[in-house]
Symmetry: C2
Subunit: 438 residues, 2 copies
Amino acid sequence: MNTPGQPAQQGARSLDPHLRRYAARTAGMTASEIRALFAVASRPEVVSLAGGMPHLAALPLDSLSAEVGELIAADGLVALQYGSAHGVPELREQICDVMALEGITAHPDDVVVTVGSQMGLDMVTRIFCDPGDVVLAEGPSYVGALGSFAAYQAEVVHVAMDADGLEPTALREAIAAVEKAGRRVKFLYTIPNFHNPAGVTLAVRRRAEVLEVCRAHGILVVEDNPYGLLGFDGVTYPALRSTDPDNVVYLGSFSKTFAAGLRVGWVLAPHAVREKLVLAAESATLCPPTLNQLIVSRYLSTHDWQGQVKTYREAYRERRDAAISALEQHMPAGSTWNKPNGGFYVWLTVPEGIDTKAMLPRAITQRVAYASGTGFYADGLGSRQLRISYCYPTPERIREGVRRLANVIKDELELHETFGPGAPRAVSGPQAPSPDTA
Amino acid sequence: MNTPGQPAQQGARSLDPHLRRYAARTAGMTASEIRALFAVASRPEVVSLAGGMPHLAALPLDSLSAEVGELIAADGLVALQYGSAHGVPELREQICDVMALEGITAHPDDVVVTVGSQMGLDMVTRIFCDPGDVVLAEGPSYVGALGSFAAYQAEVVHVAMDADGLEPTALREAIAAVEKAGRRVKFLYTIPNFHNPAGVTLAVRRRAEVLEVCRAHGILVVEDNPYGLLGFDGVTYPALRSTDPDNVVYLGSFSKTFAAGLRVGWVLAPHAVREKLVLAAESATLCPPTLNQLIVSRYLSTHDWQGQVKTYREAYRERRDAAISALEQHMPAGSTWNKPNGGFYVWLTVPEGIDTKAMLPRAITQRVAYASGTGFYADGLGSRQLRISYCYPTPERIREGVRRLANVIKDELELHETFGPGAPRAVSGPQAPSPDTA
């Protein structure tokens, strides 16, 4: 039988003289479907709705250039020198101000600066997860998180979500099933706002319940919130951390509110956990780049950074509108999607019988790329779904990309009419148009 | 009985509500003695011979400032955007040119850019080491490497070194002992040039033998070479990688040849291993900061970077001379040290009866800080030794620091004359003045 990934591994087995030397965890490291896509999807004739690259064109490069130049001239001996694994103190104070916008009260000592919030995620998993420990995560979930969990041999159990985000009932059931199996849940990993890839937001009325369920079962909550300030209605939701500081580890990032290429993120953790994180970070990278931290710190203090976030929000709302109107115009019956209130992503369910992963090469031939749904599940679900990222291309390109995608789907359906459809597929995650689209 | 570290752990047990949640590996994460020092040692009245911070004062900050400003203005949309986990292609080509200075022939595809070579070390350990696997390392060894090995629950077996570096006989014996115990050696971790902390260099005549022994026993070699271009006689030794490309993973860094605060390092690995490294790096940080890679790339192509390395070399040689002459002038009988030919460090063995870790608080009271020897061993050795870093302070401060240190040691000896010495201590690592000092 053809297990996914097996042919490649067999190839590696015969070619790689080091194969017998790898750690057990290395077997779980496989190239993500999305990463494999980047090369083809970056050809100019292809409209890429696949990547999650932020739209940077709105950044004030001239003033940034001057500021960074000045920083190096005036403060280069600090900016180019080692710092602490904990992060630059002034930046950690400013990060507390940023988090205050979401109702968080925090002490700068409890903030650890990381090389993007991906590193925060990796460090949190490092300090908490032994092989075989269970991590609960929405289904679907962020592909980079699944990668980190796999790297530490944690097992992901997905929790269903609907248009209002994580379902508390499903959370209770998942915990009960894991506990019944005698397994240990280490934490719930959740992206409450403008979810990647599902696009939905955890309803405010559900937040206390989710926290309460986790607390009752002794389960830590890891709140990943890169998109929280990118709500299209200008609404910022209260962070889970704001109401349960002792049981929530919060991950933040400047990748979407400022610039991804600087790789500056952070973890806010309960005090004792923070100490472990600093130790873990020290053995991972010694310290985050000092220059990058000082650039962000200076940017926050000298630029109208909230004005810039507003500019980003407007750019993304325009793109979201382009994606949604094109979906409404072109998608064949039997497709469903949600209309996100913020962030970068629409989660599309295609008509029955279509396998989005199998369809991808044909889509690329038709000059449109997307991320197929299976990459966002640790358990093989998602084959009838895909993620549309509207963050990077222009609205015109997005409309054209969605039009091409709709044609690819229609071609698939025609093929099925002629040759019969594929097997019915299980579907998970929010499928129906969310209440927002009503 | 009072196991080291136990009191602190007991304290943590009562204070940290998350204690039962941590992964097994987290128990091995303890604050390094050196890190605990940085806070006190950074007070201006203290001469710190503890840290390994490079001397940056020689950097051309004005032209760097202009270049980086220009980079952001002209290329900001790339510099501030996500890149690949593999690293910027142009930089990987330039890295191959840098390595060519050490006799290495490599393809840019086999280079992975990392967030400092600490991350390279962490990634190599991640892909190779299961808990309980053995890593061979010189005794003493780099404290950050010991931290990464502990984070992956690998067990370090130290291999003795002398003034000519790692001893091949000791290597053979260590391998035999590990194999006899039915344990698995995953790799030999070695710093062949201007060792941290021992200051010695692996004699060229020993290099082929070390490679041969490892190859014969199926043991990978991890060559960590941050100081290779900092030889005071302008001599660059052939890298281990240059003669055994299939069995050596090479770690390089711009932290000592350019600027540590950018955190740009790299791994050169056999092709199949490189693929695993990219996957591991992707789940660790997604990608290294793009801006930093472009800064290094531009610096390499527009600056006389080898001239800058020469400037660094001269600055460090002057500091080495200051340290050695002060040691000769002030140290009491019974102290031994080596005279390094490059790099940042002198390894000092103090007279019998003195415990360098216990002495440290008294030294700081006398306004001098150092790194005590035990931090460089995974097995508790090193208590009669300490590392002097001459890289950062001015020659005057180094001389003053060594003078203060000598006085502290003399005070200890006087105390012992009055109250009796401590117990005799096992000594390891190069102790006698090396042939260089003859």
